[in-house]
Amino acid sequence: MGEVDRETSQLATDITPADRRYTEYFVEGTEPPPLRADPWKIFAWGPIIF
């Protein structure tokens, strides 16, 4: 789920007014890209040390 701008149907941003925001629910795989789980992001945390 994610906060969506009711007017644009896009994910809400910091400047989206509160009265236009609502919580949208998505079936996994249909959510907007920023909400998707991305396994590659794990590398953004830094090298994996074994």
Binding site: R6, S9, E24, Y25, G29, T30, P32
Partner: protein, 642 residues
């Protein structure tokens, strides 16, 4: 047989030692000779026996209260010992005050009746025993037959009955046998229907009111003619006092009390259409409930049923009372033609189910069962309009279309296989441009639903509808996406249990179990869930979208009745020309559907819609249901810590 009549008549005459009686007995003896010796009918088949009488099958609500009876004769026999003494006494006082003296035939009474008839006052002199003989053996003793032959046969049988049974047995048989109108027989049935209580709980005034009825059950119906019944009841009470059964003070006190009858004919809820379904289901299972003696335990909730009935009646009456309403209006009691299939005034139906079990908690099949028994919830076949759309949207979400996906709410021209052009329109005749799937459902935009239907394929949507429990045929046309294919209302409401149960629909259940007269369970119905039709995540998303229909969409009128603390999801429906209006919705406790329309589809009124007409019925019904539930919880028995 003539010989026995002779002996009995003479014996009675001797007993009372009255010349008039002897004269009358002699006259009765010779009348058959003078009339060509008509033989009393069927004396060989023992018309003096007290037979076991037919009992009704009882239909009980989930709380055990009585909601209906099934059988040719609605009767529950009771022992005379269970009755308050003044109840049989009231009947004896008014119907046969020499009951404990005569031998089945009241010769003194006959003489009095003869004298009164000569002086122009028509009255009979049948004893309680004679009445029982006639009522119990109508094929042998036809009480409508006024011939001397019939009277002699009845007298003979009455005397014979008195030889074989005690006075209490005869009186008990009589009290359980007599008709009280409406197909109700016996004092127990009459007490339940007229006064809403068992005969054992009747007051003196109520007992006397029942005793007033055998003279003419239709003429002395306490519901229809309370004043007339009160007058005759007071006569009964005076007779009881005069005959020493009660004191004058008791009679006076009872005479001062008003006639207070029970609503709904003594049932805990007015639910005749529900009882009809129960009867048919039991018969289909091979259980002869029509023959009586069964107890049928059902799922009906009297509180919700009463709320559904009152909400439907009030909202339809309110619509009819609006200025400019252009159709025939329903008038209670006017031109009632029970059994006619259709009416010309506005009709409606309400069905409410338990979301998890499918138990039918309420079912109202129309506005007035006495006028039209047609069950619009079960036997109706109507276009659902936009109430069908949640199925289309569920197919879309299941097909990986997110609820914030944008669609064009714009003019469409679709060429059908027969080369005609289909141009779907919205009910407000406007197009809103780009709109999200969520908003399209909340605002019930037809064009978006048609696009989804074409994108997903109507075959796959029809397939999903059937998996969700819909049995009707969904035509593979674009218009089916906006509810053009007719459905059975109960079916469609049950489809919505899929959203309540996160993907698994349940079948409506009316009957829990049926017990025979020995309390042996002969039928038991378990909850029947269908195979999961949708992924739980899909149903969760669609249910959330349907909440927007109520919070900010076409069914926002519901919030006039239900507080926001009660979550509601649902969908309105309105068909072409506003001829059918729907709302089907769900709360955590109930899945319910409301339909309004005419039996012959015509426009209800300009601008009529599911949100303005059907949703208020839903809202009002559930507001009353939750208020009653909350009250019940508040008034639950508590331990007193004094």
């Amino acid at each position: 047989m003539n010989r026995s009549i002779h002996q009995s008549e003479v014996a009675i005459a001797q007993r009372y030692n009255q010349p008039l009686c002897a004269l009358l007995a002699g006259a009765l003896l010779f009348i058959p000779v003078l009339l060509g010796a008509q033989e009393p009918k069927a004396v060989d088949t023992e018309p003096w026996t007290i037979l076991p009488v037919a009992q009704a099958s009882l239909v009980l609500a989930r709380d055990g209260s009585l909601i209906g009876e099934i059988g040719k004769e609605i009767r529950t026999s009771v022992s005379i010992k269970s009755l308050p003494r003044y109840l049989p006494q009231a009947f004896v006082a008014v119907e046969d005050h020499r009951f404990y003296q005569h031998d089945g035939v009241d010769v003194v009474g006959i003489a009095g009746a003869l004298k009164d008839n000569i002086f122009g006052e028509r009255r009979g002199a049948s004893t309680i025993t004679q009445q029982l003989v006639g009522n119990m053996h109508p094929t042998l003793i036809d009480r409508t037959d006024r011939s001397i032959g019939r009277k002699l046969a009845e007298q003979s049988a009455a005397r014979e009955m008195e030889k074989h049974y005690t006075k209490d047995q005869i009186l008990e048989g009589y009290l359980n046998q007599i008709p009280f109108g409406h197909g109700w027989y016996g004092v127990e049935s009459a007490a339940r229907h007229y006064f809403g209580k068992s005969a054992s709980k009747l007051t003196l005034a109520e007992a006397a009111a029942l005793a007033a009825m055998p003279k003419g059950p239709a003429l002395y119906d306490p519901v229809k003619y309370p004043d007339r019944v009160r007058q005759r009841r007071n006569v009964v009470l005076s007779l009881m006092a005069a005959q020493g059964y009660i004191t004058a003070a008791q009679a006076k006190a009872a005479q001062a009390s008003p006639i207070v009858t029970s609503p709904n004919g003594g049932y805990s809820a007015y639910s005749p259409w529900f009882v009809d379904v129960v009867r048919v289901q039991a018969l289909r299972e091979g259980i002869p409930v029509n023959q009586g003696g069964y107890r049928i335990y059902t799922s009906l909730d009297p509180v919700l049923q009463n709320a559904a009935t009152s909400a439907l009646l009030e909202e339809t009456a309110s619509l009819e009372s609006q200025p400019g309403y252009a159709h025939p209006k329903y008038t209670r009691g006017a031109e009632a033609q029970a059994g006619r299939a259709t009416t010309d005034y506005l009709q409606g139906m309400v069905v409410a189910l338990d979301p998890t079990s499918g138990d039918v908690r309420a079912l109202v099949g129309g506005r007035d069962y006495s006028d039209s028994r047609f069950n619009r919830a079960v036997d109706g076949s109507r276009q659902p309009g936009s109430a069908f759309k949640p199925i289309v949207y569920a197919a879309a979400i299941a097909d990986s279309i997110p609820p914030n996906a944008l669609f064009a709410d714009t003019a469409l021209a679709i060429t059908l296989p027969n080369k005609t052009i289909y141009r779907p329109e919205n009910s407000d005749n406007q197009f809103l441009g780009t709109i999200s799937l969520r908003d399209a459902l909340a605002m019930s935009r037809n064009v978006v639903a048609v696009q989804l239907g074409m994108k997903l394929g109507m075959d796959s949507i029809a397939n999903l509808a059937h998996r969700m429990g819909l049995n009707s045929v969904i035509a593979p046309y674009p218009s089916s996406a906006i509810g053009a294919s007719v459905v059975q209302p109960l079916d469609l409401v049950a489809v919505y249990t899929t959203f309540a149960n996160l993907g698994t629909p349940v079948e409506p259940r009316f009957i829990y179990r049926v017990e025979d007269k020995n309390r042996k369970v002969v039928l038991s119905r378990e909850v029947r869930a269908l195979a999961p039709a949708l992924d739980p995540r899909v149903t969760y998303v669609v249910r959330d979208m349907m909440r927007d229909v109520v919070e900010r969409g076409t069914a926002s009128s519901i919030r006039r009745y239900l507080p926001v603390s009660i979550p509601v999801a649902g969908k309105t429906g309105t068909t072409n020309d506003n001829s059918d209006v729907w709302f089907i919705g769900l709360t955590p406790d109930v899945v319910a559907g409301v339909w309004l329309g005419f039996d012959k589809p015509i426009s209800i009124a300009p601008g009529a819609g599911g949100g303005s007409l059907a949703a208020p019925v839903f809202g009002k019904m559930l507001a009353r249901y939750y208020a009653a539930r909350s009250l019940a919880m508040d008034t639950a028995p508590r331990r007193d810590h004094g």
